[in-house]
Amino acid sequence: MPVTVRTFTSSGEAAAALSSDRGARYFGGGTLVMRALNEGDISISTIVRASDQALMRIDASGPRVTIGAGVTFARILAERELAFLHAPARSVGGPAVRNMGTVGGNLFAPNPYGDFTVALLALDAVVSVQGGFGVRDVPIEEFLQSRERQAGTLVLAVSCQKPLSADAFRYRKITRIKPKGGSVITLAAHLPVSSGRVLGARIALGSMAPVQIRAKAAERALEGRPLDASTIAAAASAAVEGTSPTDNALASGWYRREIVGVHLRRLLSGHE
Protein backbone atom coordinates (compact mmCIF):
# COMPACT_ATOMS: atom_id res chain seq x y z
CA MET A 1 0.00 0.00 0.00
CA PRO A 2 1.48 3.41 -0.93
CA VAL A 3 2.50 5.65 1.93
CA THR A 4 3.16 9.37 2.10
CA VAL A 5 6.85 10.29 2.07
CA ARG A 6 7.74 13.59 3.71
CA THR A 7 11.31 14.82 3.50
CA PHE A 8 12.53 17.77 5.56
CA THR A 9 15.78 19.70 5.53
CA SER A 10 15.76 20.29 9.28
CA SER A 11 15.46 17.75 12.04
CA GLY A 12 13.13 20.11 13.90
CA GLU A 13 10.57 20.03 11.12
CA ALA A 14 10.94 16.27 10.83
CA ALA A 15 10.39 15.87 14.57
CA ALA A 16 7.26 18.03 14.41
CA ALA A 17 5.89 15.93 11.55
CA LEU A 18 6.70 12.76 13.45
CA SER A 19 5.05 13.82 16.69
CA SER A 20 1.88 15.07 15.00
CA ASP A 21 1.04 11.90 13.07
CA ARG A 22 0.43 8.60 14.83
CA GLY A 23 1.00 6.69 11.58
CA ALA A 24 4.34 8.35 10.88
CA ARG A 25 7.64 6.52 11.22
CA TYR A 26 11.08 8.00 10.87
CA PHE A 27 13.04 6.51 7.98
CA GLY A 28 16.78 6.31 8.65
CA GLY A 29 18.74 3.63 6.85
CA GLY A 30 15.64 1.67 5.91
CA THR A 31 16.64 -1.64 7.44
CA LEU A 32 13.72 -1.56 9.89
CA VAL A 33 11.02 0.62 8.33
CA MET A 34 11.33 -0.60 4.74
CA ARG A 35 11.33 -4.13 6.02
CA ALA A 36 8.07 -3.41 7.85
CA LEU A 37 6.59 -1.90 4.68
CA ASN A 38 7.68 -4.92 2.65
CA GLU A 39 5.88 -7.11 5.17
CA GLY A 40 2.70 -5.07 4.72
CA ASP A 41 2.68 -3.17 8.01
CA ILE A 42 -0.46 -1.09 7.58
CA SER A 43 0.19 0.89 10.77
CA ILE A 44 2.67 3.00 8.79
CA SER A 45 0.92 5.65 6.72
CA THR A 46 3.70 8.24 6.51
CA ILE A 47 7.46 8.05 6.19
CA VAL A 48 9.37 11.00 7.59
CA ARG A 49 12.89 11.69 6.38
CA ALA A 50 15.39 14.41 7.23
CA SER A 51 18.38 15.53 5.19
CA ASP A 52 19.78 17.59 8.08
CA GLN A 53 23.56 17.20 7.98
CA ALA A 54 23.69 17.45 11.78
CA LEU A 55 22.32 13.92 11.87
CA MET A 56 25.37 12.73 9.92
CA ARG A 57 28.01 14.36 12.11
CA ILE A 58 30.67 12.56 14.12
CA ASP A 59 32.57 14.45 16.81
CA ALA A 60 35.21 12.11 18.20
CA SER A 61 38.12 14.45 18.79
CA GLY A 62 37.72 14.81 22.56
CA PRO A 63 37.21 12.42 25.46
CA ARG A 64 33.46 12.43 24.81
CA VAL A 65 32.22 11.32 21.40
CA THR A 66 28.97 12.36 19.75
CA ILE A 67 27.60 10.38 16.84
CA GLY A 68 24.70 11.66 14.75
CA ALA A 69 21.73 9.32 14.57
CA GLY A 70 22.08 9.02 10.79
CA VAL A 71 25.68 7.80 10.91
CA THR A 72 26.01 4.34 9.38
CA PHE A 73 28.04 1.47 10.78
CA ALA A 74 30.30 1.63 7.73
CA ARG A 75 31.20 5.20 8.68
CA ILE A 76 31.94 4.18 12.23
CA LEU A 77 34.28 1.50 10.90
CA ALA A 78 36.04 4.14 8.81
CA GLU A 79 36.61 6.42 11.81
CA ARG A 80 39.89 5.71 13.58
CA GLU A 81 38.86 7.70 16.66
CA LEU A 82 35.95 5.30 17.14
CA ALA A 83 38.09 2.16 17.23
CA PHE A 84 36.49 1.11 20.50
CA LEU A 85 33.18 0.82 18.63
CA HIS A 86 34.52 -1.09 15.65
CA ALA A 87 33.80 -4.57 17.06
CA PRO A 88 30.12 -3.82 17.75
CA ALA A 89 29.76 -2.01 14.40
CA ARG A 90 31.35 -4.92 12.53
CA SER A 91 29.01 -7.38 14.25
CA VAL A 92 25.97 -5.75 12.63
CA GLY A 93 24.75 -7.52 9.47
CA GLY A 94 26.82 -7.86 6.32
CA PRO A 95 28.54 -5.06 4.36
CA ALA A 96 25.32 -3.85 2.72
CA VAL A 97 23.46 -3.61 6.03
CA ARG A 98 26.42 -1.73 7.52
CA ASN A 99 26.28 0.72 4.59
CA MET A 100 22.62 1.35 5.33
CA GLY A 101 21.90 0.76 9.02
CA THR A 102 22.29 3.72 11.35
CA VAL A 103 23.21 4.27 14.97
CA GLY A 104 19.84 5.89 15.63
CA GLY A 105 17.91 3.07 14.03
CA ASN A 106 19.78 0.46 16.02
CA LEU A 107 18.25 1.92 19.19
CA PHE A 108 14.89 0.67 17.92
CA ALA A 109 16.01 -2.70 16.53
CA PRO A 110 14.18 -5.56 18.24
CA ASN A 111 15.75 -8.88 19.27
CA PRO A 112 17.81 -10.54 17.88
CA TYR A 113 19.18 -7.25 16.51
CA GLY A 114 20.29 -4.05 18.21
CA ASP A 115 23.81 -5.24 19.00
CA PHE A 116 25.41 -1.80 18.69
CA THR A 117 22.97 -0.52 21.30
CA VAL A 118 24.30 -3.13 23.73
CA ALA A 119 27.71 -1.48 23.42
CA LEU A 120 26.22 1.98 23.91
CA LEU A 121 24.37 0.79 27.01
CA ALA A 122 27.59 -0.49 28.56
CA LEU A 123 29.17 2.89 27.81
CA ASP A 124 26.38 4.78 29.63
CA ALA A 125 25.52 6.66 26.45
CA VAL A 126 23.13 9.57 26.36
CA VAL A 127 20.48 9.78 23.64
CA SER A 128 19.53 13.25 22.34
CA VAL A 129 15.92 13.25 21.24
CA GLN A 130 13.70 15.90 19.75
CA GLY A 131 10.02 15.66 20.47
CA GLY A 132 7.09 18.00 20.87
CA PHE A 133 8.81 19.70 23.83
CA GLY A 134 12.14 20.43 22.18
CA VAL A 135 15.50 18.70 22.48
CA ARG A 136 16.40 16.73 25.59
CA ASP A 137 19.07 14.27 26.61
CA VAL A 138 17.91 10.91 27.91
CA PRO A 139 20.15 8.29 29.55
CA ILE A 140 20.16 5.29 27.22
CA GLU A 141 18.85 2.92 29.87
CA GLU A 142 15.84 5.15 30.43
CA PHE A 143 15.38 5.51 26.67
CA LEU A 144 15.36 1.76 26.15
CA GLN A 145 12.94 1.10 29.00
CA SER A 146 10.45 3.49 27.37
CA ARG A 147 11.31 2.61 23.78
CA GLU A 148 7.77 1.66 22.86
CA ARG A 149 6.68 5.21 23.67
CA GLN A 150 9.49 6.86 21.70
CA ALA A 151 7.90 6.40 18.25
CA GLY A 152 6.89 10.06 18.13
CA THR A 153 10.33 11.38 18.94
CA LEU A 154 13.28 11.86 16.64
CA VAL A 155 16.68 10.66 17.81
CA LEU A 156 19.29 13.27 16.91
CA ALA A 157 22.51 11.76 18.28
CA VAL A 158 24.09 9.53 20.88
CA SER A 159 27.10 10.45 22.96
CA CYS A 160 29.38 8.63 25.38
CA GLN A 161 32.78 8.85 27.03
CA LYS A 162 35.64 7.08 25.30
CA PRO A 163 36.98 4.19 27.38
CA LEU A 164 40.28 5.14 28.99
CA SER A 165 42.02 2.11 27.50
CA ALA A 166 41.31 -0.51 24.85
CA ASP A 167 41.12 -3.14 27.59
CA ALA A 168 38.49 -1.20 29.51
CA PHE A 169 35.78 -1.89 26.96
CA ARG A 170 34.95 -5.40 25.78
CA TYR A 171 32.32 -6.71 23.42
CA ARG A 172 31.19 -10.15 22.38
CA LYS A 173 28.34 -11.30 20.16
CA ILE A 174 27.41 -14.97 20.23
CA THR A 175 26.01 -16.25 16.95
CA ARG A 176 25.29 -19.64 15.46
CA ILE A 177 26.89 -18.80 12.12
CA LYS A 178 29.92 -16.68 11.31
CA PRO A 179 30.81 -14.09 10.25
CA LYS A 180 27.22 -12.93 10.07
CA GLY A 181 24.36 -14.09 12.21
CA GLY A 182 21.62 -12.93 14.53
CA SER A 183 22.45 -12.67 18.20
CA VAL A 184 22.04 -15.64 20.50
CA ILE A 185 23.25 -13.25 23.16
CA THR A 186 25.33 -10.10 22.98
CA LEU A 187 27.51 -8.83 25.81
CA ALA A 188 29.43 -5.60 26.38
CA ALA A 189 31.40 -4.56 29.43
CA HIS A 190 32.94 -1.26 30.42
CA LEU A 191 35.46 -1.86 33.17
CA PRO A 192 37.19 1.31 34.37
CA VAL A 193 40.02 0.32 36.70
CA SER A 194 41.48 2.60 39.36
CA SER A 195 44.33 1.47 41.65
CA GLY A 196 43.81 -2.08 40.50
CA ARG A 197 40.10 -2.13 41.29
CA VAL A 198 37.07 -1.93 39.04
CA LEU A 199 35.13 1.27 39.66
CA GLY A 200 31.88 2.03 37.82
CA ALA A 201 31.55 -1.29 35.99
CA ARG A 202 28.85 -1.49 33.36
CA ILE A 203 27.73 -4.76 31.81
CA ALA A 204 25.06 -4.79 29.12
CA LEU A 205 23.24 -7.73 27.59
CA GLY A 206 21.33 -8.15 24.35
CA SER A 207 18.69 -10.83 23.62
CA MET A 208 18.33 -11.45 27.36
CA ALA A 209 15.14 -9.36 27.80
CA PRO A 210 12.62 -7.58 25.56
CA VAL A 211 15.14 -4.70 25.28
CA GLN A 212 18.85 -4.46 25.98
CA ILE A 213 19.46 -4.49 29.73
CA ARG A 214 22.24 -4.00 32.25
CA ALA A 215 23.39 -6.97 34.32
CA LYS A 216 23.34 -5.01 37.54
CA ALA A 217 23.96 -7.94 39.88
CA ALA A 218 27.10 -8.80 37.90
CA GLU A 219 28.16 -5.14 38.01
CA ARG A 220 27.80 -5.16 41.80
CA ALA A 221 29.93 -8.30 41.98
CA LEU A 222 32.75 -6.45 40.20
CA GLU A 223 32.49 -3.11 41.95
CA GLY A 224 35.52 -2.12 44.00
CA ARG A 225 37.26 -5.45 43.45
CA PRO A 226 40.28 -6.48 41.41
CA LEU A 227 39.35 -8.26 38.19
CA ASP A 228 40.65 -11.64 39.37
CA ALA A 229 39.31 -15.15 38.99
CA SER A 230 37.11 -15.10 42.08
CA THR A 231 35.57 -11.73 41.18
CA ILE A 232 34.95 -12.88 37.63
CA ALA A 233 33.34 -16.10 38.88
CA ALA A 234 31.03 -14.12 41.16
CA ALA A 235 30.03 -11.80 38.31
CA ALA A 236 29.45 -14.72 35.95
CA SER A 237 27.18 -16.50 38.41
CA ALA A 238 25.18 -13.29 38.89
CA ALA A 239 24.85 -12.56 35.16
CA VAL A 240 21.46 -14.23 34.77
CA GLU A 241 19.84 -12.25 37.58
CA GLY A 242 17.13 -9.90 36.33
CA THR A 243 17.07 -11.35 32.82
CA SER A 244 13.98 -12.62 31.01
CA PRO A 245 15.13 -14.13 27.70
CA THR A 246 12.58 -15.65 25.38
CA ASP A 247 12.66 -18.39 22.76
CA ASN A 248 13.28 -17.59 19.13
CA ALA A 249 14.62 -19.42 16.09
CA LEU A 250 18.22 -18.93 17.21
CA ALA A 251 17.99 -20.24 20.77
CA SER A 252 15.61 -20.93 23.61
CA GLY A 253 15.31 -18.71 26.63
CA TRP A 254 16.58 -21.62 28.75
CA TYR A 255 19.72 -21.91 26.62
CA ARG A 256 20.38 -18.19 26.85
CA ARG A 257 20.10 -18.30 30.63
CA GLU A 258 22.50 -21.25 30.71
CA ILE A 259 25.21 -19.64 28.63
CA VAL A 260 25.15 -16.00 29.65
CA GLY A 261 27.39 -16.60 32.65
CA VAL A 262 29.80 -18.69 30.61
CA HIS A 263 30.25 -15.97 28.03
CA LEU A 264 30.46 -13.22 30.60
CA ARG A 265 33.26 -15.14 32.31
CA ARG A 266 35.09 -15.45 28.98
CA LEU A 267 34.56 -11.76 28.22
CA LEU A 268 35.86 -10.64 31.60
CA SER A 269 38.77 -13.09 31.46
CA GLY A 270 39.80 -11.85 28.03
CA HIS A 271 39.32 -15.31 26.46
CA GLU A 272 38.37 -15.47 22.81
Binding site: M1, P2, V3, T4, V5, T7, F27, G29, G30, T31, M34, R35, L37, N38, E39, I44, I47, R49, A74, G93, G94, P95, A96, V97, N99, M100, P179, K180
Partner: protein, 159 residues
Protein backbone atom coordinates in the same frame (compact mmCIF):
# COMPACT_ATOMS: atom_id res chain seq x y z
CA UNK B 1 -2.10 8.95 -3.71
CA UNK B 2 0.06 10.98 -6.10
CA UNK B 3 3.10 9.40 -7.64
CA UNK B 4 6.50 11.03 -7.29
CA UNK B 5 8.85 11.74 -10.20
CA UNK B 6 12.24 10.15 -9.70
CA UNK B 7 15.42 10.61 -11.74
CA UNK B 8 18.69 8.78 -11.23
CA UNK B 9 21.50 7.14 -13.17
CA UNK B 10 20.97 3.47 -13.86
CA UNK B 11 24.06 1.68 -15.13
CA UNK B 12 25.41 4.91 -16.56
CA UNK B 13 22.17 5.97 -18.20
CA UNK B 14 19.81 8.67 -16.92
CA UNK B 15 16.34 7.32 -16.18
CA UNK B 16 13.13 8.99 -15.03
CA UNK B 17 10.17 7.14 -13.53
CA UNK B 18 7.13 7.77 -11.37
CA UNK B 19 6.94 5.85 -8.11
CA UNK B 20 4.30 5.35 -5.46
CA UNK B 21 5.27 6.53 -1.98
CA UNK B 22 7.15 3.83 -0.13
CA UNK B 23 8.19 1.91 -3.25
CA UNK B 24 11.47 0.13 -2.72
CA UNK B 25 14.30 0.32 -5.21
CA UNK B 26 14.05 -3.36 -6.11
CA UNK B 27 10.47 -2.94 -7.30
CA UNK B 28 11.42 0.24 -9.16
CA UNK B 29 14.28 -1.50 -10.96
CA UNK B 30 12.41 -4.67 -11.84
CA UNK B 31 8.89 -3.46 -12.52
CA UNK B 32 9.37 0.12 -13.69
CA UNK B 33 12.73 -0.03 -15.45
CA UNK B 34 12.74 -3.68 -16.48
CA UNK B 35 16.14 -4.53 -15.02
CA UNK B 36 15.52 -8.06 -13.76
CA UNK B 37 19.05 -8.75 -12.53
CA UNK B 38 18.47 -7.81 -8.87
CA UNK B 39 16.41 -10.65 -7.38
CA UNK B 40 13.68 -10.65 -4.78
CA UNK B 41 14.73 -13.11 -2.10
CA UNK B 42 13.42 -12.26 1.33
CA UNK B 43 12.43 -8.58 1.32
CA UNK B 44 13.92 -8.35 4.80
CA UNK B 45 17.59 -7.64 4.16
CA UNK B 46 18.55 -11.16 5.08
CA UNK B 47 19.63 -12.78 1.82
CA UNK B 48 21.48 -10.25 -0.35
CA UNK B 49 19.92 -11.40 -3.63
CA UNK B 50 18.82 -7.83 -4.38
CA UNK B 51 22.26 -6.24 -3.79
CA UNK B 52 23.15 -3.25 -5.96
CA UNK B 53 25.76 -0.51 -5.81
CA UNK B 54 24.58 3.00 -4.99
CA UNK B 55 27.30 5.56 -5.65
CA UNK B 56 29.71 2.64 -5.47
CA UNK B 57 28.56 1.32 -2.08
CA UNK B 58 26.80 -2.01 -1.65
CA UNK B 59 23.13 -1.65 -0.70
CA UNK B 60 20.12 -3.90 -0.45
CA UNK B 61 17.66 -2.60 -3.01
CA UNK B 62 14.71 -4.26 -1.25
CA UNK B 63 15.31 -2.06 1.81
CA UNK B 64 16.17 1.10 -0.11
CA UNK B 65 13.46 3.69 -0.53
CA UNK B 66 13.35 4.35 -4.27
CA UNK B 67 13.04 8.10 -3.71
CA UNK B 68 16.32 8.09 -1.79
CA UNK B 69 18.34 7.41 -4.96
CA UNK B 70 17.21 10.63 -6.68
CA UNK B 71 20.23 12.12 -8.45
CA UNK B 72 22.44 9.19 -7.49
CA UNK B 73 24.08 6.41 -9.46
CA UNK B 74 22.69 2.87 -9.22
CA UNK B 75 24.69 -0.01 -10.67
CA UNK B 76 23.26 -3.49 -11.10
CA UNK B 77 24.58 -6.71 -12.56
CA UNK B 78 23.01 -5.71 -15.86
CA UNK B 79 25.54 -2.89 -16.12
CA UNK B 80 28.82 -4.57 -15.28
CA UNK B 81 29.49 -6.45 -18.50
CA UNK B 82 31.21 -4.66 -21.39
CA UNK B 83 28.88 -5.15 -24.35
CA UNK B 84 28.94 -8.84 -25.24
CA UNK B 85 31.98 -9.46 -23.02
CA UNK B 86 31.43 -10.77 -19.54
CA UNK B 87 32.96 -8.91 -16.61
CA UNK B 88 36.04 -10.71 -15.25
CA UNK B 89 34.08 -11.62 -12.13
CA UNK B 90 31.36 -13.21 -14.26
CA UNK B 91 33.98 -15.20 -16.17
CA UNK B 92 35.57 -16.31 -12.91
CA UNK B 93 32.18 -17.41 -11.56
CA UNK B 94 31.58 -19.48 -14.69
CA UNK B 95 35.05 -21.01 -14.70
CA UNK B 96 34.93 -21.89 -10.99
CA UNK B 97 31.39 -23.33 -11.00
CA UNK B 98 30.30 -20.59 -8.60
CA UNK B 99 26.71 -20.56 -9.83
CA UNK B 100 24.30 -23.47 -9.53
CA UNK B 101 20.67 -22.38 -9.41
CA UNK B 102 21.93 -18.85 -10.01
CA UNK B 103 19.43 -17.01 -7.86
CA UNK B 104 22.03 -15.57 -5.50
CA UNK B 105 24.55 -14.91 -8.27
CA UNK B 106 23.62 -11.30 -9.13
CA UNK B 107 23.88 -10.29 -5.48
CA UNK B 108 27.08 -12.26 -4.99
CA UNK B 109 28.64 -10.60 -8.03
CA UNK B 110 27.72 -7.12 -6.86
CA UNK B 111 29.03 -7.82 -3.36
CA UNK B 112 32.26 -9.13 -4.91
CA UNK B 113 32.51 -6.12 -7.20
CA UNK B 114 32.05 -3.75 -4.24
CA UNK B 115 34.98 -5.51 -2.57
CA UNK B 116 37.33 -5.62 -5.57
CA UNK B 117 36.62 -2.02 -6.55
CA UNK B 118 38.12 -0.98 -3.22
CA UNK B 119 40.49 -3.84 -2.54
CA UNK B 120 41.76 -5.48 -5.75
CA UNK B 121 43.85 -8.07 -3.90
CA UNK B 122 41.71 -9.23 -0.97
CA UNK B 123 42.58 -12.02 1.39
CA UNK B 124 40.33 -15.05 1.67
CA UNK B 125 38.99 -13.74 4.98
CA UNK B 126 38.13 -10.42 3.33
CA UNK B 127 36.23 -12.23 0.58
CA UNK B 128 34.30 -14.24 3.17
CA UNK B 129 33.45 -11.04 5.01
CA UNK B 130 32.45 -9.27 1.79
CA UNK B 131 29.87 -11.90 0.84
CA UNK B 132 28.73 -12.52 4.42
CA UNK B 133 25.43 -10.75 3.77
CA UNK B 134 24.63 -12.95 0.77
CA UNK B 135 23.07 -16.36 1.19
CA UNK B 136 23.67 -19.24 -1.23
CA UNK B 137 21.81 -22.50 -0.67
CA UNK B 138 23.54 -24.46 -3.47
CA UNK B 139 27.29 -24.09 -3.61
CA UNK B 140 28.44 -24.20 -0.01
CA UNK B 141 30.20 -20.88 -0.76
CA UNK B 142 33.62 -22.38 -1.50
CA UNK B 143 33.36 -22.07 -5.31
CA UNK B 144 32.16 -18.49 -4.91
CA UNK B 145 35.07 -17.57 -2.65
CA UNK B 146 37.47 -19.24 -5.07
CA UNK B 147 35.95 -17.39 -8.01
CA UNK B 148 36.34 -14.00 -6.34
CA UNK B 149 39.94 -14.82 -5.44
CA UNK B 150 40.59 -16.00 -8.99
CA UNK B 151 39.20 -12.78 -10.43
CA UNK B 152 41.33 -10.79 -8.02
CA UNK B 153 44.53 -12.72 -8.66
CA UNK B 154 43.97 -12.31 -12.37
CA UNK B 155 44.33 -8.60 -11.77
CA UNK B 156 41.41 -8.06 -14.08
CA UNK B 157 38.62 -7.32 -11.66
CA UNK B 158 38.80 -3.54 -11.75
CA UNK B 159 37.69 -3.45 -15.35
Amino acid sequence: MAKTALQFRHNGRDVAIFVDGGTNLLVALRELIGDMTPKFGCGQGGCGACSVLIDGDLHLSCLTLAESVAGRSVETLDGIKDGPNLHPLQRAFAENFAAQCGYCTPGMLMAAKALLDRNPQPSRAEVVEAISGNICRCTGYEPIINAVLAAASGGRARA
